[in-house]
C-alpha cells in the first residue's frame, strides 16, 4: 500500500511540471536595452563625446542590462546616505528621471536628466526641480506634495541628527517654503511663482551653480 501511494504521488508530480516550465522560460528572457548612438545623444544633450563615454561606462557597469529599475535605483542612492532612509526620495527622483514613465530608467533618460542638471540653464534646472516636487505632474505644487518631499528629505537624514528631528519639523519647513514661494496665497505654487521666487533668492541662485563642475 505504501508503494501504491508512492507511485501515485510521483505521477501527480509529473503532471504539474509542463505548465511551470513555460512560465519560467518567459521570465528568464531578461530585459535588455541598447541606447541610441553616440552621435544622437551628443546632439540631444550638452555632453561631449568623452563625457558620454565615461557616463555610459559607469552606467553599464552598475546595470549590465542597460536599464535601471526602481529597486536598483533605490539601492544605489541609499549607499550614499548610510544613516537615513533614502528610499522615498529615491522614488521621487526615479519618477523625475523616468521621462516616459515606463518604470525603468534607460541610459537616455539618465543622460537627459544629467544634461539638464549639470549643463542646463538655471531656468531649466528650476523647471526640473519643479517637476520633481510636483508629484502628480499637474502643474501645481500643493502643500501635501511638498510635505511628502520634505519628509523624504528629512528621512534621508536619519535618526541621529542634532537637534533631534521632531514630527513637525518638515511641516514647519513646508510652511516656510510656502510663505516664500506662494505669492498669491492660493495654497499652491505654480511654476511661474516658483521660478520668479527662486530667481529673486540669492542663495538659491548661487547654489544652482554649485555642481557644474561635477563631470
Amino acid at each position: 500500500m505504501g508503494a501504491l501511494m508512492v507511485i501515485f504521488s510521483l505521477q501527480t508530480k509529473q503532471r504539474r511540471k509542463p505548465t511551470d516550465s513555460v512560465e519560467d522560460e518567459l521570465e528568464l528572457s531578461a530585459v535588455r536595452h541598447r541606447p541610441e548612438g553616440l552621435e544622437q545623444l551628443e546632439a540631444q544633450t550638452r555632453f561631449s563625446r568623452k563625457e558620454l563615454q565615461i557616463l555610459y561606462r559607469g552606467f553599464k557597469n552598475e546595470c549590465p542590462s542597460g536599464v535601471v529599475n526602481e529597486e536598483t535605483f533605490k539601492d544605489i542612492y541609499a549607499q550614499f546616505f548610510p544613516q537615513g532612509d533614502a528610499s522615498t526620495y529615491a522614488h521621487f527622483l526615479f519618477n523625475a528621471f523616468d521621462n516616459d514613465h515606463n518604470g525603468s530608467v534607460s541610459f537616455e533618460d539618465f543622460v537627459m536628466g544629467l544634461s539638464i542638471l549639470l549643463r542646463g540653464t538655471v531656468q531649466e534646472k528650476l523647471i526640473w526641480a519643479f517637476n520633481l516636487y510636483d508629484i502628480n505632474k499637474d502643474g501645481y505644487i500643493t502643500k501635501e506634495e511638498m510635505l511628502d518631499i520634505m519628509k523624504a528629505i528629512y528621512d534621508m537624514m536619519g535618526k541621529c541628527t542634532y537637534p533631534v528631528l521632531k514630527e513637525e519639523t518638515p511641516r514647519q519647513h513646508v510652511e516656510v517654503f510656502f510663505q516664500k514661494m506662494d505669492k498669491n496665497k492660493d495654497g499652491v505654487v505654480t511654476i511661474d511663482e516658483f521660478i520668479d521666487c527662486c530667481q529673486n533668492d540669492e542663495n538659491i541662485m548661487r547654489s544652482m551653480h554649485l555642481f557644474e563642475n561635477v563631470l
Partner: protein, 635 residues
C-alpha cells in the same frame, strides 16, 4: 562605498539640485578638483602578463596598494608601466575586485598563496563576496587545523627546563619521545595482551584427569593464573599511579575516559582480594570478573584507530539513536502481529510479545536461526511479510539513513555557520556604514577646524588628504545638512554620531535649549561651536589618528559673553582626551596632554558657567556639568 556606486556619485550630486530651492541656508563650497586630468589607461605588468585598466578604476579603493600612491614604487620608467613580480592568476581576482566591487576566491587557488597576494595588495579578505566566502573560510579553517597539527608534532622537541613530572607526562602521552617511554609503552602493551589472553584461556577446559569431569584451566591451575593476574594488576596499578602523578591536571585526568577504563580494569582484582570466601557475594564477584575484559580497551591508548572509531561513534550518537528507534518500531509492530497470529496455535513458542521480539529480530536481519518458527497459516504469512520487509527495513534504509543523516548533519553545521557568518556580515556592513558616516563627521570637524584656522595657519599637516571621491561625498552630505532647517531658522540639522544623538535625545526632554550652528562663517555673527559632541566617551576610533581633535574655535570675542578669557596659545588634544577636558572645570588644573601631534594657534575662550541668557547668538549648553573648556598650550 562600493566601487560601482562611486561611478554614480556625479549623478547623486547632480540630483542634489533638487534640494536647493527648499534650502534656506547657503550651501557649502564644492571641493575643487585640482589636477583634473582625463581618464587614462594604465598598464599593470604582472610577471609578464599585461593588464590594462582605467586609472579611475583603481582609484576607487584608495586604501589599497593599487589605489594609493604606493603603486608608484613599482613604476618602471623605461617601459612606462607598473611592474609587479607576483602571481598573474591571483592578480586576475584582485583586479576584478576593482572593476566589479566584489572579491571572488578562485577555488583552485591555494589558500595561503591567495592570502599572501591579498596581503600584498592591501586588500582585506573579509570583503570576499558571499558567493565565495563560505568556501574561503572552510579552506582557511582546514589549513589552520593542518598547521596546528604540524605545530603539535613539532612540539616534541624537548624544551630545556622541564620538570621531571612534565617529562613523565610527555613520555606517557607520546611514546616516541624517548627510549624509556617506548620501552614502557611496549611493556604495558605486552601485559595487557597477556592479561586478556589469560582471561580467555582461564575458561578453556583443560585436559582432565581420567576420572574427573572437564574443568576449565582456571580451576585447574589456580595458582598460576592467580600469579599471572596479580602480576598484570600490579603493572597496571603502578602505571595508573604514575600517570596520576604526572598528570598536569589530576582532577581532569581522573575524569577522562582512559583513566576510568584503567580503574575499571584493575578494580575487580582488588575487590576480589577484599571479599574472599564470602558465599553471598561470590556471585557478584563472578560478575565482576567480566569487567576484566575492559582491559582490552586499554589498547585504545596504543591504537589511534580505536580512538578515532570511538570519537566517530560519539559524534554520530544522535543518528544512531534514531536508527535504533525506527528499528525498534518495526520490531514491536511485527512482534505484536506475530504474537496475535500465533496465539491460537498450541505449543507455540510465541508465549508473549517480548518473546516474539527475538523471532522478529532474527527474521528481519535475515539470520533465521529456526529456534522459533510460526506454525499457523496466518503466522507464516506474517512471518514471510516480516522477513521481506526486514530486507527493506534494514538493508535499504541503513545506507540511506546513514547518508541522509550525514547530509543533515552537515546541513546543520552549514546553517550554524551561515548564522554565524550572517552576524559577522551584518557587523561588517554596520561597520562600513558607521565608518563612512564617521569619516564624514570627522572630515566635517576637520573642515570646520581648518576654516577656523584661516587666521593663522601654521601647519598644513593637519588636513589629512582624503580622496577626491570622499571629499565630494562629504560635500554632498554637507549640502543635505544645510537643506534641513531647525526651529530658529538660523541653524540646521547635522549628522551626529549615535552617542551624541542619544544623549541629546535625553536632554531634549529635559531642557529646551536652543540649537547651535556648526558653521563658523560669521553670517549672523554667531560663534560657531563645533563642540556639539558633548558625550563623554568616543566609541569608535576614527580612522585618521593623526588628525587633531575637534576644538571649540571662536573667531572673535563676543560682546554678549561675560567673563571671556582669551588665551593666545592653543593646545589641541587628541580626540579621546578632549572630551574629558570638555567636562573639566576652569579651576581644575587640567593635565596637559603632551601626546598631541599638531600645533596651531587659535583663539579660544572659556565661557562662564551656565549662560542663561539665550539672547544673542552665542548659545552654550546649559547643562550643569558641561563646561566648554579646551585647555590649550603651545607645544
Amino acid at each position: 562605498m562600493a566601487a560601482g556606486v562611486a561611478a554614480w556619485l556625479p549623478f547623486a550630486r547632480a540630483a542634489a539640485i533638487g534640494w536647493m530651492p527648499v534650502a534656506n541656508l547657503p550651501m557649502p563650497v564644492a571641493p575643487a578638483e585640482k589636477n583634473k586630468r582625463q581618464d587614462e589607461l594604465i598598464v599593470l605588468n604582472v610577471s609578464g602578463r599585461r593588464f590594462q585598466t582605467w586609472r579611475n578604476t583603481l582609484d576607487r579603493y584608495p586604501d589599497t596598494l593599487l589605489g594609493s600612491s604606493e603603486k608608484e614604487f613599482f613604476y618602471n620608467e623605461d617601459t612606462k608601466e607598473y611592474f609587479f613580480d607576483r602571481d598573474p592568476d591571483v592578480f586576475r581576482s584582485v583586479l576584478n575586485f576593482y572593476r566589479t566591487g566584489k572579491l571572488h576566491y578562485p577555488r583552485y587557488e591555494c589558500i595561503s598563496s591567495y592570502d599572501e597576494e591579498l596581503a600584498f595588495f592591501g586588500i582585506v579578505p573579509e570583503i570576499i563576496g558571499d558567493c565565495c566566502y563560505e568556501e574561503y573560510k572552510d579552506r582557511k579553517r582546514e589549513n589552520a587545523e593542518r598547521l596546528m597539527d604540524d605545530q603539535e608534532d613539532n612540539k616534541d622537541a624537548k624544551l630545556p627546563n622541564m620538570t621531571f613530572r612534565e617529562t613523565m607526562w610527555r613520555a606517557f602521552e607520546n611514546p616516541h619521545t624517548s627510549t624509556m617511554a617506548l620501552v614502557f609503552y611496549y611493556v604495558t602493551g605486552f601485559f595487557i595482551a597477556v592479561s586478556v589472553i589469560t582471561n580467555v584461556v582461564e575458561t578453556v577446559p583443560c585436559g582432565s584427569a581420567p576420572n574427573q569431569k572437564e574443568v576449565p584451566c582456571g580451576e585447574r591451575y589456580t595458582v598460576a593464573f592467580f600469579c599471572m593476574d596479580t602480576a598484570c594488576v600490579m603493572i597496571f596499578t603502578v602505571e595508573y599511579l604514575m600517570r596520576l602523578f604526572a598528570a598536569p591536571n589530576r582532577y581532569r585526568f581522573m575524569r577522562s575516559v582512559m583513566s576510568i577504563i584503567d580503574v575499571v580494569a584493575i578494580l575487580p582484582y582488588y575487590i576480589g582480594l577484599v571479599m574472599t570466601d564470602n558465599e553471598d557475594v561470590s556471585g557478584a564477584f563472578v560478575t565482576l570478573r567480566v569487567f576484566r575484559v575492559f582491559r582490552i580497551f586499554k589498547f585504545s591508548r596504543h591504537s589511534q584507530g580505536l580512538r578515532i572509531l570511538g570519537y566517530t561513534l560519539k559524534s554520530c550518537a544522535s543518528e544512531l539513536g534514531f536508527l535504533l528507534f525506527s528499528l525498534t518500531m518495526a520490531i514491536i509492530i511485527f512482534a505484536t502481529v506475530m504474537f496475535y497470529a500465533e496465539k491460537g496455535s498450541s505449543s507455540s513458542k510465541f508465549t508473549s510479545i517480548p518473546a516474539s521480539f527475538w523471532y522478529t529480530i532474527v527474521t528481519m536481519t535475515t539470520l533465521g536461526y529456526g529456534d522459533m518458527v510460526p506454525k499457523t497459516i496466518a503466522g507464516k504469512i506474517f512471518g514471510s511479510i516480516c522477513s521481506l520487509s526486514g530486507v527493506l527495513v534494514i538493508a535499504l534504509p541503513v545506507p540511506v539513513i546513514v547518508s541522509n543523516f550525514s547530509r543533515i548533519y552537515h546541513q546543520n553545521q552549514r546553517a550554524d555557520k551561515r548564522r554565524a557568518q550572517k552576524k559577522a556580515r551584518l557587523a561588517r556592513i554596520r561597520l562600513s556604514k558607521t565608518g563612512s558616516s564617521n569619516a564624514f563627521l570627522h572630515s566635517k570637524r576637520n573642515g570646520l577646524f581648518n576654516e577656523a584656522l584661516e587666521l593663522t595657519v601654521k601647519e598644513h599637516r593637519l588636513r589629512k588628504s582624503t580622496s577626491l571621491i570622499e571629499s565630494q561625498h562629504h560635500h554632498l552630505l554637507h549640502c543635505l545638512e544645510k537643506t534641513t532647517v531647525s526651529r530658529n531658522k538660523h541653524f540646521n540639522h547635522e549628522f551626529v554620531d549615535e552617542q551624541y544623538y542619544q544623549q541629546s535625545y535625553l536632554e531634549a526632554g529635559l531642557q529646551n535649549y536652543p540649537s547651535r550652528s556648526p558653521s563658523l562663517s560669521s553670517q549672523e555673527g554667531m560663534t560657531g561651536t563645533c563642540c556639539t559632541r558633548r558625550s563623554k566617551k568616543h566609541h569608535s576610533p576614527l580612522p585618521n589618528a593623526s588628525a587633531p581633535a575637534h576644538m571649540q574655535p571662536l573667531t572673535h570675542t563676543h560682546p554678549h559673553k561675560q567673563g571671556l578669557q582669551e588665551l593666545s596659545t592653543i593646545h589641541i588634544q587628541p580626540l579621546s582626551t578632549s572630551r574629558s577636558s570638555l567636562n573639566m572645570r576652569i579651576d581644575e588644573p587640567a593635565p596637559l596632554n603632551c601626546q598631541s601631534s599638531q600645533i596651531t594657534t587659535a583663539v579660544i575662550s572659556i565661557p562662564t558657567p551656565p549662560v542663561t541668557t539665550p539672547e544673542g547668538d552665542a548659545h552654550l549648553p546649559a547643562g550643569p556639568a558641561h563646561q566648554n573648556v579646551v585647555k590649550v598650550s603651545a607645544l
